[in-house]
Amino acid sequence: MAATTLPAGTTEAGLRPDSNETTPRGARWWRELGWRHVVTWAVLVFCFIPILYVLSSSLNPTGSLTGSNKLFSSISFQNYVELLTDPVHPYVRWFANTIVIATTTSIGTVLLGAAAAYAFSRFRFRGRRGGLLSLLLLQMFPQVLAYVAIFLLLVTLREVFPAIGLGSPLGLILVYLGGALGVNTYLMYGFFNTVPKELDEAAKIDGASHAQIFFSIILRLVAPILAVVGLLSFVGVFSDFLIASIVLVDPESQTLAVGLYQYVSQRFSEYWGVFAAGAVLAAIPVVLLFQFLQRYIVSGLTQGAVKG
């Protein structure tokens, strides 16, 4: 493709053409936009076939998960009713617990991670390189006995600080925050580096402190990555089963992953439908949150500081 057909060329490289151009039509529309829809639909089909099974199973009161390829042969909301009314499995409570724990954890992770990334990106100190590398490597350490170690730790902590010991949601959040530095820091670090230092220096000349620069300048400019990290950490908490099942033991205080898993770990064929219904509902907050965060992820930097 010749460089003169600018829009077609640039789009392929992942560019945003100037916004004052009109929407293309006809063959040019296909070349520029149409194929994007086709490709996306193809990937969406790949994404959604397994999920259709889950959806179909959630609507079928007696069906199995994958036993039949006749999807949606029976439609009933019985499983959803059962899910929401079962006193032994307080799904609504789990849902609320998970939202609270995941939200708190992701906010904490973003703050701790961003602070560390700021330090690594803006200051020069001894052990900077080594520190960054260690953070990355530490998270590769095998967690074979994590469940035993966390239990021992929280049992001991419970004696000193009952509020963050075994059985406490706050305790669980703190355990998750232990993982705030690591890959996330790295992701943010890379992004922080793309924010020009001249901005900091200009602010410093204006008399801003390093804390002001961090909170009011940098954090705004890196909103996309904050949103990404926040979402990643949110999803991480949403799907964590191992640690949550050790820390939270009271059914009223459990999280979705722990609670839902109980439906299928034994005698699963009996509870497929209810479990599938629970999984479908549990996926909604993640998707909604992403939908909400998208504008930060996609437009944060472009609309924040660059224009002007």
Binding site: G63, G67, F151, R158, G165, G167, D250, P251, Q262, S269
Partner: protein
């Protein structure tokens, strides 16, 4: 650093407040505590979700009667055994857990479970249930439910009586013209030796032999026998005939039976509820013998174990033996959980339930699934070999011998 003066002041103030609020520092009033160390008179019981309802009911009654507290902790059933093994030694584990009898080997070996004594009450339980809950002659758990698989029949498809041999059964089923004959669920990779076990035992080839006391003996791999090889040949034959198909997963088999595509299925009570609600007229029968000897399904017994590290041992025994072992409680647990009780008198009471009664009748011929630690080494080779047999991947006897040699090797190595 003069600027730190306000910090020091604030710190001291807050620290004193905190210390004052918390009272004496050793006492935790945390209600989420699952410690059994906290105070005598509080029993911590681990249950899974399906048991939590019924146990809660009886626990409430027990609390009122005895003036004690029973704290239920709801855990995933699959986690209870390993969490118990790792947490009991810290002294922070539960007093009582619900569990399956085949955990016993590991629980005893790790020294985390205490023996119990039923006294004269032992005779009131189904013999297979107390046998299963015993390890090396000592009883460790109070049985409360017994589960096993059986032949489930769609009576609308075959009104005739069920034949007495498996070959005749297959012939009768094929005569109905349905897509499948006798459904036995499999897994493409790991097979399903559990659902095949009634057929295997009908060739007189149990996994392990038993010692003088009737306990399973890891040193006697009874599958390594002519009966075992005959069973292998039979599995290959069923595979060739298309009766067995490794693609026939539990899901597929269940759907097929619900859709009336097969007159028979070998399965457990956990699926029958869905069969009934799908409108199928089910009957529960013995699995006909394939090799001439009686077919014996594995029996799984569930019950309650007391921690060897319980600081409330007396109370735990009172709760488990004298309370959970009574007919009323066993019946209440059945009503709430739907699992056939292990207490004979409770079972008699609900005997007119054709499904529970039917499975229980078949279970009388069953054998407890071995609970010795060596059993853990058996499954992988066993299942993979049955897959190979069904798929005609070699000489049946040779495959079987390769399997028994491999299993014996692993047992000997440890």
């Amino acid at each position: 650093m003069r600027r730190s003066i306000p910090v020091v002041a604030a710190t001291l103030g807050l620290a004193l407040t905190l210390a004052a609020c918390s009272g004496s520092s050793g006492e935790t009033t945390d209600d989420a505590s699952e410690s059994s160390a906290a105070n005598a008179g509080t029993l911590t019981v681990w249950v899974d979700d399906t048991r939590s309802g019924p146990v809660k009911e009886v626990a409430t009654a027990f609390e009122e009667e005895k003036g004690v507290t029973v704290k239920l902790v709801q855990k995933d059933f699959g986690d209870i055994r390993d969490d118990f093994i790792s947490q009991a030694p810290t002294g922070q584990g539960p007093d009582v857990i619900v569990g399956a009898h085949d955990w016993l080997g590991k629980l005893v070996q790790n020294g985390v479970v205490a023996p119990i004594e039923l006294g004269d009450k032992a005779e009131d339980f189904l013999p297979v249930s107390t046998q299963a809950m015993s390890y090396e002659g000592t009883l460790y758990g109070l049985p409360y439910s017994v589960e096993n698989i059986a032949l489930v029949k769609n009576k609308d498809l075959v009104p005739d009586a069920t034949p007495t041999t498996f070959d005749e059964l297959v012939a009768q089923a094929k005569a109905t013209g349905t897509q499948y004959s006798v459904l036995i669920q499999q897994d493409e990779k790991t097979g399903d030796p559990y659902h095949m076990y009634p057929l295997q035992t009908s060739f007189g080839a149990p996994v392990f032999g038993t010692d003088a006391d009737g306990a399973y003996d890891a040193a006697q791999l009874a599958m390594d026998s002519d009966g075992g090889r005959a069973f292998a040949a039979y599995v290959a034959k069923l595979g060739a005939e298309g009766v067995l198909n490794t693609s026939l997963s539990g899901d597929v088999a269940k759907e097929a039976f619900i859709n009336g595509q097969a007159p028979y299925m070998i399965t457990g009570p956990w699926n029958v509820g869905d069969f009934v609600s799908a409108g199928i007229n089910v009957g529960i029968e013995k699995v006909p013998s394939a090799g001439g000897q009686p077919s014996q399904p594995f029996v799984g017994v569930q019950g309650f174990f007391i921690s060897a590290k319980s600081k409330n041992a007396l109370l735990a025994n009172e709760f488990v033996v004298n309370y959970l072992g009574t007919k009323d409680v066993q019946l209440a647990m059945y009503e709430a959980g739907g699992r056939a009780p292990a207490l004979q008198s409770a079972l008699d009471e609900i005997g007119d339930d054709a499904i529970v009664g039917g499975f229980a009748e078949v279970g009388k011929d069953g054998v407890p699934m071995p609970s010795i630690p060596a059993m853990d080494t058996v499954w992988a080779d066993w299942g993979a070999t049955e897959v190979a047999l069904v798929n005609q991947q070699g000489d049946p006897a040779a495959l079987w011998d390769q399997m028994t040699a491999s299993i014996s090797g692993k047992i000997a190595a440890s």
